[in-house]
């Protein structure tokens, strides 16, 4: 299956940061059409029919998410989540820096659909350059009359504020993001109430991923069927997949959902010379590993879920036969231990002790029982936390311990029996 160019069209060829270039290619036409000829209900209907599912990790249907907002006359907020920090994911980084106007157009259409007059984009602190590029693009759009009071002479007014985080993976979780946007510690909130009911400043709020919103102008332009007919019925459309790890040409590749993992591997140049792929992590650091026998699986939300893993943010990491999975597990466990916000004990303590256990293994001080300990501790952490971070260690760790147990055992050196 070929690589397609929808969101990535023009990247690397023309300067899409420039509003003139973006408009020359039809940019902001869909926003104008939406704002001047369509009702918010029309837009929601269109997006629901397209089958678009969130591209940030959870894969929740976007149209349905929008419909959860109560009709209570309160102000509503649209928040674009660009706190991209899931290990292996680098697609929002690309969209933010290379086609900021496409993201702005999507945010405007989304805001109009849910009736929000103030939209925010939360950009991770490390994307300082991206933040500057995006801020400049907002000012260009404002000068061109795309946002502000009474856009296109109509009744709709929309303000757009870029907001930069300061280094915290957990702020990608939507309620942590909202706390951070309110100037607080980025700690996830207890749910319910969900953001649709009580979100930013306690008002109804929708949090959508960058890629999700960037698809809106295209769905409006081409119609919902154009999107819905691509790929599997319940998991349709295109997706930017961030491929990295042991491949020859790591990069962002836009493909129809339903492309197989083997095709993705080929698109990314294949395995390194003389090497074979032994494992695939298909949906970011929080997802369970698949293995060489799974290479022909269709890459879509439901197939991944049926194989006890997930599509997540669309970060695919390929591991070849040189991989030390103890080190790989250590890298990811340390990540989650480091990024735990500390509110929930299982996540805060469990991640920490798992990291230390893996460190002990790596330093040659491990015990045979450590391997069972890794599995049991990561399992006991799961399902007991306010947010999914604490549940994110088990999938990868348990899947690689099970599959590559000899690698873990090789690190074990029997210590002297304890002498208490």
């Amino acid at each position: 299956m070929p690589v397609v160019k929808v969101l990535t069209e023009g990247i690397g060829e023309v300067n899409l940061r420039d509003i003139g270039e973006y408009r020359k290619r039809g940019g902001y036409e869909q926003w104008q059409r939406v704002a001047t000829t369509m009702s918010p209900a029309d837009v929601i209907d269109l997006v629901s029919k397209s089958g678009l599912r969130g591209r940030g990790g959870a894969g929740f249907p976007t149209g349905r998410k929008w419909q959860f907002l109560p009709n209570n006359g309160r102000p509503r907020y649209m928040v674009c989540n660009c706190d991209e920090a899931e290990p292996g994911t680098f697609k929002d980084h690309l969209l933010l820096e290379e086609t900021p106007h496409q993201v702005i157009e999507g945010m405007l259409i989304g805001s109009y659909a849910i009736g929000s007059n103030h939209a925010f984009i939360y950009i991770r602190g490390e994307f300082k350059r991206g933040f500057d590029i995006f801020s400049a693009a907002i000012e260009e759009a404002r000068a061109a009359g795309m946002l502000g009071d009474n856009v296109f002479g109509g009744e709709f007014s929309i303000e757009l504020t870029p907001h930069r985080g300061a280094g915290a993976y957990i702020c990608g979780e939507e309620t942590a993001l909202l706390n951070s946007l309110e100037g607080k510690r980025g700690e996830p909130r207890l749910k319910p109430p969900f953001p649709a009911i009580k979100g930013l400043y306690g008002e109804p709020t929708v949090v959508n991923n960058v890629e999700t919103l960037a698809f809106l102008p295209h769905i409006v332009k081409n119609g919902p069927e154009w999107f819905a007919k691509v790929g599997p019925e319940k998991s349709p459309g295109y997706k930017i997949v961030s491929v990295s790890g042991h491949v020859k040409k790591a990069g962002n590749y836009e493909v129809p959902l339903g492309t197989t993992l083997r095709e993705l591997l080929e698109i990314a140049g294949g395995a390194r010379d003389g090497r074979t792929i032994v494992a695939i992590q298909p949906g970011g650091g929080s997802s369970a590993c698949l293995f060489e026998e799974d290479l022909d699986l269709s890459y879509d939300f439901d197939t991944m879920a049926a194989h006890k893993t997930m599509l997540g943010s669309g970060a695919v990491v390929f591991f070849d036969d040189t991989t030390d999975f103890v080190k790989a597990a250590h890298a990811l466990v340390r990540f989650f231990a480091h990024e735990s916000c500390g509110q929930c004990t299982p996540c805060r303590e469990g991640g920490h002790w798992l990291e230390l256990t893996l460190e002990r293994l790596l330093h040659g001080g491990g015990l045979d029982s450590d391997i069972d300990l890794l599995v049991s501790v990561s399992h006991q952490m799961t399902g007991l936390n306010l947010c999914p971070l604490g549940d994110s260690i088990e999938p990868f760790l348990a899947s690689v311990v099970k599959r590559f147990e000899p690698q873990f055992r090789r690190y074990v050196k029997h210590a002297e029996p304890a002498t208490v």
Binding site: G88, G125, R129, A166, L181, G183, G251, V317
Partner: protein, 262 residues
């Protein structure tokens, strides 16, 4: 003129009033952007740090005053985020990715090389105050691993040669990324908080797994072993503290080598 209460040689006499004069217009612009002004806290702290190179106590106090937020809350909030430096740092902040895709492509060697070339470790600053070094989590640049940021600008596809060039150019003042302002001389350890030393939940230093009290320490192994093999159902398990106490108690009453219990 405010005196920094943080240790370290002053680079020049600090003039916080001048800093404030520079940041204030930006701070006021930021406060007007949000329905509730407290939202401007993070952007405001960024603004202070951009001018001073680090987040000084005076800056946090001033941000709190402007936003009507207690200083304790400002400090608590700032401490949550890894990009706010609450101690002076070097003029070049080198942040090398240590996560999965970078490690699969040689980040371990890159980190070892940096440590050796700079003579400092994770979360430390060189004695001349030029480089601060940190090993960070995924930077969303996995396609060009191993990668890093220098003062938040990306550097990709790191090799020893590239690192040598980078360091030489920074030392010579010819590097393409501008150095950070430096208003106070950094100490060796710049990070405040739990990451300055590796502590177990019981408070022992476990910076090395085999350190006393660390996971590699025999008594530590025993504790974990016992937890893992405990016959108690999970909910009925004794707390660690009690385990240790009981162990110590048993040890006290245990017969000594070769002695017969009376």
């Amino acid at each position: 003129m405010a005196e920094g209460r943080v240790a370290g040689r002053a680079v020049a006499e600090r003039d916080f009033a001048a800093v404030l004069a520079q940041v204030k217009p930006e701070a006021e612009r930021l406060m007007a952007l949000y329905p509730e002004k407290r939202s401007a806290l993070l952007p405001m702290l960024h603004a202070f740090q951009n001018v001073e190179g680090w987040l000084s106590p005076e800056a946090m106090a001033e941000a709190g005053r402007m936003l009507s937020v207690p200083l304790s809350v400002v400090e608590s909030t700032a401490s949550f985020y890894t990009l706010f430096f609450r101690r002076p740092i070097g003029r070049y902040m080198l942040q090398v990715c240590r996560n999965l895709s970078c490690r699969m492509n040689g980040a371990d060697d890159v980190m070892a090389y940096f440590r050796e070339r700079l003579g400092v470790g994770h979360l430390q600053t060189t004695d001349d105050g030029t480089f601060s070094y940190e090993e960070v989590e995924c930077l969303a640049a996995c396609d060009r691993a191993p990668s890093m940021q220098v003062n938040l600008e990306f550097v990709y596809d790191l090799t020893p040669e590239k690192i040598d060039e980078l360091i030489a150019a920074m030392k010579a003042g010819t590097y393409e990324v501008a150095p950070l302002p430096q208003t106070a001389m950094p100490a060796r350890d710049w990070h405040v908080g739990q990451d300055t030393g590796r502590k177990s939940p019981g408070g022992q230093d476990v910076s090395h797994p085999n350190a006393p009290g660390g996971m590699g320490d025999p008594s530590g192994i025993d504790l974990i072993e016992r937890l893992a093999r405990s016959p108690y159902p999970i909910e009925a398990r004794p707390t660690q503290e009690r385990l240790v106490r009981e162990g110590a108690e048993r040890l006290k009453h245990a017969p000594h080598n070769g002695e017969v219990e009376h």
